[in-house]
Point group: C2
Amino acid sequence: MFPHRNEVFLMTQYVIDQMLEQVRESIRSQDQDVFRKLFLGWHENFQMQVIMQLYKHERMQLYDWLAANELAGVFQEMEYEDQFFTLKEMEAAQAAAVMNEVSADDAAAFIDKLPITARKESLLKAMDAKKADDVKEILSYPKETAGAIMTKEYLEIFSNQTIAEVMAFLRKTGQDVETIYYVYVVNEAGHLAGVVSLRDVIVHDNKTIIEEIMSTRVVYADDDLDQEDVAKIIQTYDLLAVPVVNKQKHLIGIVTVDDVMDVLEEEVTEDIGEISASKGSTDTNLSAFQAAKKRAPWIVLLMFLGLITANVIGRYEETLEAVVLLSVFIPLIMDSAGNTGTQSLAVVVRSLATGSYEKKGIAKMLRRELGTGFFMGLICAVVLVLTVSILYNHLLLAVIVAVSIFLTLSVAALIGAVLPLIINKLNIDPAVASGPFITTLNDIIGLFIYFTIATSFLEYL
Amino acid sequence: MFPHRNEVFLMTQYVIDQMLEQVRESIRSQDQDVFRKLFLGWHENFQMQVIMQLYKHERMQLYDWLAANELAGVFQEMEYEDQFFTLKEMEAAQAAAVMNEVSADDAAAFIDKLPITARKESLLKAMDAKKADDVKEILSYPKETAGAIMTKEYLEIFSNQTIAEVMAFLRKTGQDVETIYYVYVVNEAGHLAGVVSLRDVIVHDNKTIIEEIMSTRVVYADDDLDQEDVAKIIQTYDLLAVPVVNKQKHLIGIVTVDDVMDVLEEEVTEDIGEISASKGSTDTNLSAFQAAKKRAPWIVLLMFLGLITANVIGRYEETLEAVVLLSVFIPLIMDSAGNTGTQSLAVVVRSLATGSYEKKGIAKMLRRELGTGFFMGLICAVVLVLTVSILYNHLLLAVIVAVSIFLTLSVAALIGAVLPLIINKLNIDPAVASGPFITTLNDIIGLFIYFTIATSFLEYL
């Protein structure tokens, strides 16, 4: 988890500083040719980093020296805030021209984030009608579905075309699409009928008809498919892109592997946020106060749940007054219950994410978790009987603690697994099944078991 | 986190059942042609699923009907256990022939997992000398580095070749390599000198010399680069593959985007395992007993840490005897301390994984976490003073609890952030910085703060 950052990343900053100096030099000497030759030889990501470190008046010069499609390439590498300020620095006409060259998915993602509806509309209006329609189509899909993350820049051919025709088509349009490596075949009705990879196109001779070499068993994604499942399809079948079809099975877009990598990253952040009750606050761009505002509600809510635990202990105040030593083991019971539940939660979250849970079935998985809790409880109970009876020289107390741990761990493992599954089935916001909630629930159950047993043996303690 | 599994996955099982029936029919009627036409039209992942559901005698028939390279395609889709049993079912000569067709990275991953050294060696000996050397080279790299996950099937050309020559080369060798979409340019000394994408090749005319169109600013990975950084490079620059070079800057292999997706999945499982102290046990193929054996050591270890917490409470037994009500708030202090620390841990883990921590710098990040803890502590303290004084009608107790929470949360947020960073710097196994450890540490600190304050006000309570 804690990677060694190495030279690649250190070097990058050094390289960028050098690039920055070269760009500034070309601006000072007002030499557009030198600038273009230099700048356009770099990866767009480097271009973006250089542009963001320039002063505004330098950037204005570059807006003049670069074409709309070149600026669009840089724009696509930026984060939303930088995109916003860059477009604001440009004339309205240039901003629209750049947006026309940005791929439909990136344009949609940007416009979706604009805070003011009027601004969205005026930008869409200034764009080409065709591009604006593409963007609107993408925006019309519910968030995190295939339709919402697809792009419209893909290649479509007919099955009766020859390799020579397709090659001519690729030469003409190859620079404008997201990927040139898959070409999709549609029939007259616009239905997705097959796919040929550029590899297939290359290795066959010019006169071959597409129909003879196309693969008709195309893996595709329905437009309303969850983005996590789109990622899973690309991963399972080692694809570079997956076609998206609507209800009528018309080809309407593609999702490429680089977009899917971003989806995976997003989903992981979500998963970890849920395990740790820090959803939406792992963003390091937030200030301390903003982060506190996002995280505090969870802590306060959990604190109130903690008051329920306090209430459980309060009910056994008499028991505690009689034997204060019992309170010493409160943390031990709580920690063990919480940790066991969190482990089970992690197992379930990973099985849901990797899909292994469909393969096994719920019942089998729950049986396994109960079994795991049982065995772990057994191991811990044996360790505790020995340790506590030696440390505190009190065999009955040791047995009470051990039996409580055994029962608690068996239940805690099951709760940690069953709660997220129930919530998944019920379609409730899964955040309420996050680690700390399960921990608190298990705390309550564990302390209840512990004090019930202790109270019933009180006269012998 | 809890995706809606949809038709794609349900359909898959249905489709596979149908495919299975068709394959069985072709075996019953002993019709190799029908079988091949049918079977080879499917994606290798489907082929694999069908093969694994056949009976052994049916599979033996298919080993006869399929060529080594076709079997290799299926082999590459299997998990290790299935690969092992499949090769065991084949004659030794056929097994070696299949291994020769498996890509070097997959062959290396399989051979690496074989439990007996003699078996590794005999398999390598039976393979082509060239392929065996490639596999041995990959195996010679430390695990989780670029060298260990790279493959040797890539395309290498010289900068003085023409597009026409390169196209002829691609037509000839295109089917045998991992990706045909990037062609790497090396100079006479074997140094990586540039890259052309197939897109570039396609759009330029036949007489163009590679040198004129190749990109000389190639993003590459050093052979000892951490696999997570390799993934980051591919993700940052939206690549389909990244070339790997050795110390002498010779091109020695490539890592493709599909392998990187698997790396990301592996790393996420590791991250979540560490946050939840369930490292290596989220594999749902384990039996309950096996899972318990993997998870119990963590729980037992944490239980011993819990005994330290018990010891902290034990030291204040007199305070507790005087005011038993104090024990009621033990869970609340523990929960809040633990949850706040876990949140900070999640933030740091995500920043390390996404690389945003390099950009911001450690000091800034720690200041932010301390600030976040401070604000959250303030909010919780205000809520608690009100709640506790109303519920328990005891203002001083409420103030003691509130002040304790305020101090505890400020410290807990910092500890949750600083511990993983220190451990990252010191190169210790980061598992000791996992969620439950941080929680336990924060529990101890929180209870120490609480009882110290409570004891000093004991006479007024």
